[in-house]
């Protein structure tokens, strides 16, 4: 028996012992296992160009897609407003999933309620669930606002949120003037990125366009402020704080819309804060008066930005600005729109990032990378890699559109380092597996699920994306701005050096290159 109280072995070691190995070998008899030679043959076949061709010919099946569904994005955006409770109209299991998913990434509580629709609601509609649900959440959780979105169930049966909320208010579920913005977020359209967009637009529409017919539309009186929209982002905590720091340095009056950086980073001090931080409802309304709105992620705001533009504001969007040029563009745009000078401190930060790249570029130059993730993240990281002299080779975005594909190709064509690269919209991680086997790269950048690709193909994984479940606290550091660029650079370099050390540490064989100085 290997187990002992003095040295407790858990799953990492326990099952490697001979007793368990024998037990597992005996179990095989009952599994009716495939012939090991056949398993080996098929395994090798899945690495071939022939398999890749069949794999890419797939029309219906998705295997390991890198996207989630709309309501997750809606919940993510909603908690960015002060005292806001996300309320998902539909069957309840979904909400358990969104809450778990966000908690596993941020290691934070995630609060959200469901209207718990079941079979009877499927037949008769979910109006009663909405009416009772709003009353219950209002009384129990004392929110300042309840932001409603839907699941696929509510969408298939065609529940009308506008009418349901109105009727619920008439029945006294919540006071008539209580803010209940809404967005239809069917899970069979788009992805979590679309849900973010729809929910944010729904909230702005609510405040700006007359609170669902209960108040006059706001009349825009332009001031000098700038609105910032972060988009769906696993690094929202670090990134939004970094943006706020930059805006403060430049002295720009601003509103972060859907600022969820506090609610996903509350202190452990003996108190559970269900609501923390967030864009105040007053600020959300007053954001209509801003001079301009900047979206940090174009494809997270495809509906929101045109809506903002219709109200007379200038709108600018970026694609997850990582690195020097992308941050330059962002800072210059801030300065142009606000009329504020760019402070010397930012120039110094910029210089430090350039310095760091110059110090380290020899190690990155010419290395091949595969990247996958949300469309804007893929774009931002690819742009940075080109700047580092790396060679992005496969860029894959399951929720990337045709427009994303075109924009990616323009980016890749703009640099000699992007010439060998293909962008893949609508593909999944099983496609990526084929790409990595048939056209290998040096490093893979993506979320936690990339660890299966790392295991199968031997491509070292640099974890950047959402979700990251199996590494801690990455979301607390920014990826945006010059300082964020430095963080990304260090993540990439650390992996490169770790790999070099791993390859050179064989005693008496390869350790002549096991250098102290890198």
């Amino acid at each position: 028996m290997a187990q002992s109280a003095e040295h407790v072995l858990d799953h990492l070691e326990l099952f490697r012992g001979p007793e368990y190995q024998q037990m597992l070998a005996k179990k095989k008899i009952f599994e009716n296992p495939r012939d090991p030679a056949e398993v080996e043959r098929i395994k090798e076949w899945t690495k071939t160009a022939e398999y890749r061709e069949k794999n890419f010919a797939r029309e219906a099946l998705a295997v390991n897609p890198a996207k989630a569904c709309q309501p997750l994005g809606a919940v993510f955006a909603s908690v960015g407003f002060e005292g806001t409770l996300p309320f998902v109209h539909g069957s309840q299991g979904c909400v358990a999933y969104y809450r778990s998913h966000l908690s596993r990434h941020f290691k934070e509580p995630s609060s959200c309620v469901s209207s718990s629709m079941t079979e009877d609601a499927a037949v008769f509609g979910g109006l009663n669930n909405m009416t009772d649900g709003l009353a219950n959440s209002y009384n129990m959780y004392k929110p300042k606002m309840i932001a409603v979105s839907t699941t696929c169930m509510a969408e298939v049966i065609g529940d009308d949120l506008n009418a349901f909320i109105k009727t619920s208010k008439e029945k006294g579920s919540v006071p008539a003037d209580f803010d209940v913005p809404f967005a239809h977020t069917p899970a069979f359209v788009g992805s979590h990125v679309t849900g973010y967009d729809n929910a944010l637009k729904g909230i702005l529409e609510h405040f700006w366009d007359g609170k669902a017919g209960t108040a006059p539309k706001l009349e825009r009186k332009q001031n000098g402020a700038i609105n910032i929209i972060g988009g769906f982002d696993g690094y929202t905590v670090g990134n939004l704080r970094e943006i706020k720091r930059i805006l403060a340095l430049m002295g720009i009056q601003h509103t972060i819309l859907a600022d969820n950086s506090e609610v996903f980073d509350t202190p452990t001090d003996g108190e559970f804060r269900m609501y923390d931080g967030g864009t105040t409802l007053e600020d959300a309304a007053n954001a209509v008066h801003a001079k301009a709105t900047i979206s940090m992620q174009q494809w997270c705001t495809e509906k929101t930005l045109p809506f903002v533009a219709e109200h007379g504001q200038d709108v600018v969007s970026f694609n997850y600005p990582v690195g020097i040029s992308a941050t330059d563009d962002f800072i210059v745009a801030l300065s142009r729109i606000s009329g504020k000078e760019i402070p010397e401190q930012l120039a110094r930060e910029r210089g430090r990032l350039v310095d760091a790249i110059a110090d380290s570029s020899a190690h990155i130059h010419g290395k091949k990378f595969a990247i996958y993730g949300d469309p804007d993240l893929c774009y931002g990281l690819t742009a940075f890699l080109l700047e580092l002299g790396a060679e992005p080779t496969h860029v894959l975005s399951t929720n990337g559109s045709k427009a994303w594909h075109e924009k990616m190709q323009v980016l890749l064509a703009s640099s000699p380092f992007g010439q060998g690269c293909q962008a893949y919209p609508g593909r999944d991680l099983w496609h990526m597996r084929s790409l990595l086997f048939t056209e290998p790269v040096d490093f893979l950048i993506g979320n936690t699920y990339g660890k299966y690709l790392e295991r199968d193909t031997g491509t070292p994984l640099i974890r950047i994306g959402f979700p990251v479940f199996d590494r801690h606290h990455h979301h607390r550091s920014p990826l945006w701005g010059y300082q964020g660029g430095l963080n990304v650079l260090v993540k990439i370099l650390d992996k490169i050096f770790d790999e070099m050390d791993k390859k050179t540490n064989v005693l008496g064989k390869t350790d002549y290159s096991f250098d102290i100085i890198r």
């Binding site: 007793e19 009952f30 309840q92 299991g93 979904c94 209207s115 696929c152 359209v189």
Partner: protein, 500 residues
């Protein structure tokens, strides 16, 4: 400090009753009336815990429950390793349940094993409008071509499937015939069915009955010689390797485990189960249905067991042995004796650190009762417990075999109630799930995930008990909990003023 040592049972009962009254005050009248039925204080000698269960959750409250899909795909079918499980419908359900239950298995993933892959039909708007059956046909063909060593396929329905009226049964039959009798199982586990994941377990069990047991004989059936000592493990999902640290004990006592359900399970094992002499059932809630069916149809007896903590393990080993001859009975005693030194050492080391500590639980399946014995083996006391999706028979088992007088009972507890109870009772540990974990840690209360053992495990069996004890000690006695209050806030104001 243990409540029991400071208060009489009567005092605790009054206190808990008052707590229930307090939380009910916040609800609208209708809701308060409904929730009141789910909250109670256990009274010794009663046949159940006196709460209503398995009733719809109230809209708008933060229920912790999942859905039928979670019960079928997430719990029962998902761990069957050599079958491909399609999450049929939009992308989300499969994505959120991808790899999160830590159902360990041995196999070549993507080639002959598929547990940690996310297969989905990724429904788009046009599939809703025109129906998804044609797409499903194509998906099955693509799976056959790209994953040729799969031993079977299941179709796990998400919400839209039932609503738009797809005929997944017809597709399954037609494609099975086309592929020469391949096992293809349609499962109607749409998330809106029933009140929780519990119905999903039942639906999944029925699918095993209808599409595996009642399927005509296929060539691939196992051909091993039966022995009088063949048993099947039912209702162990091998979280962190639980079923393995259980199986090893059964084999050591002389039994032969011919099937494992469903953690690290295979289609062949499902098919072979009717050959077992006894089905031994860990998670009663999720798999009592199929166990009863096998009893009725094949005459296989089943018995419940509990492998959390040495007291229950020994009791269970003897109970299981009771179904067999003296050889097995002696085997059980031999196993208990063999592990006694480990048990003694674990208790000697950890009990002094945990003695008198109080625990509040809120989990699913069997754990709101089964783990109580393990805590008690370590000198700890469970002062509150409840089921996410338990039925009345679960509360009966809890009342009759596990909880003490005056324990606070909360069925389908929601975030608001649970937070309030914990805040007022200040347990030394809360055991629940990921959605609750960070809430309580923020409050400064140590926490362990009792669905997935966080990143740890196994917790079942003697080897698992050592890990369980270590983990509880690690959670409760972590130095971090002494740091939650800033010293300038913790120090009383009077002291600061005096220093001035």
């Amino acid at each position: 400090m243990s409540l029991a040592t400071t208060q009489s049972i009567a005092e605790i009962r009054a206190r808990n009753k008052e707590l229930i009254e307090e939380v009910l005050k916040v609800y609208p009248e209708k809701t308060a009336k409904r929730r009141a039925k789910h909250l109670n204080v256990h009274q010794a000698g009663k046949s159940d815990c006196g709460v209503k269960s398995n009733i719809k959750s109230i809209p708008g409250v933060m229920t912790i429950r999942g859905c039928a899909y979670a019960g079928s795909k997430g719990v029962v079918w998902g761990p069957i390793k050599d079958m491909v499980h399609i999450s049929h419908g939009p992308v989300g359900c499969g994505q959120y349940s991808w790899g999160s239950r830590r159902n360990y298995y041995v196999g070549t993933t993507g080639i002959d094993s598929f547990v940690t892959l996310q297969f989905t039909s990724d429904f788009q708007e046009k599939d809703i409008v025109f129906g998804g059956d044609k797409k499903l046909v194509k998906i099955l063909d693509e799976i056959q071509e790209l994953f040729p060593l799969n031993n079977g396929i299941t179709i796990q329905s998400e919400c839209p499937i039932g609503l738009i009226g797809d005929d997944i049964e017809a597709v399954s039959r037609a494609k099975s015939k086309e592929y020469g009798g391949k096992t293809i199982v349609p499962v109607r586990c749409e998330g809106f069915r029933g009140v929780s994941q519990s119905l999903g377990h039942h639906i999944a069990n029925d699918a095993v009955r209808d599409w595996i047991f009642d399927k005509p004989e296929s060539d691939g059936k196992p051909t091993f010689e039966p022995t009088p000592y063949d048993v099947a493990i039912i209702g162990d999902y091998n979280i962190g390797g639980d079923a393995w640290s259980s199986r090893i004990l059964l084999e050591e006592m002389g039994l032969r485990v011919i099937a494992q359900w469903s953690g690290d399970g295979s289609l062949a094992e499902l098919e072979a189960t009717p050959k077992a002499k006894l089905n031994i059932l860990h998670c009663y809630r999720s798999m009592n249905y199929i166990s009863r069916h096998m009893e009725e149809k094949f005459g296989i007896p089943w018995c419940e067991y509990n492998f959390f903590g040495p007291s229950k393990i020994a009791e269970s080993l003897r109970k299981i042995a009771g179904y067999f001859d003296d050889k097995i009975k002696e085997g059980a005693e031999r196993v208990i004796e063999k592990y006694q030194p480990l048990v003694n050492a674990v208790i000697a080391k950890y009990r002094p650190r945990l003695e008198g500590k109080t625990v509040m639980l809120y989990v699913g399946g069997l754990r709101p009762r089964h783990v109580i014995g393990a805590y008690e083996d370590l000198g700890m006391e469970v002062i509150g417990t409840g089921y996410e999706f338990g039925h009345n028979d679960d509360y009966q088992r809890t009342a009759q075999h596990y909880v003490k007088d005056s324990t606070l009972i909360y069925d389908d507890v929601n975030g608001y109630e649970f937070e309030h109870f914990v805040e007022k009772l200040q347990p030394d540990l809360v055991g629940s799930g990921i959605k609750e974990k960070y809430v309580f840690q923020k409050m400064g209360v140590p926490f362990r995930q009792m669905h997935s053992w966080d990143y740890s495990g196994p917790y079942h069996g003697y080897d698992g008990f050592a890990i369980f004890a270590r983990d509880m000690d690690m959670a409760i006695n972590s130095p971090v909990w002494k740091k939650t209050k800033a010293p300038w806030k913790e120090a009383s104001r009077a002291k600061l003023l005096a220093a001035e």
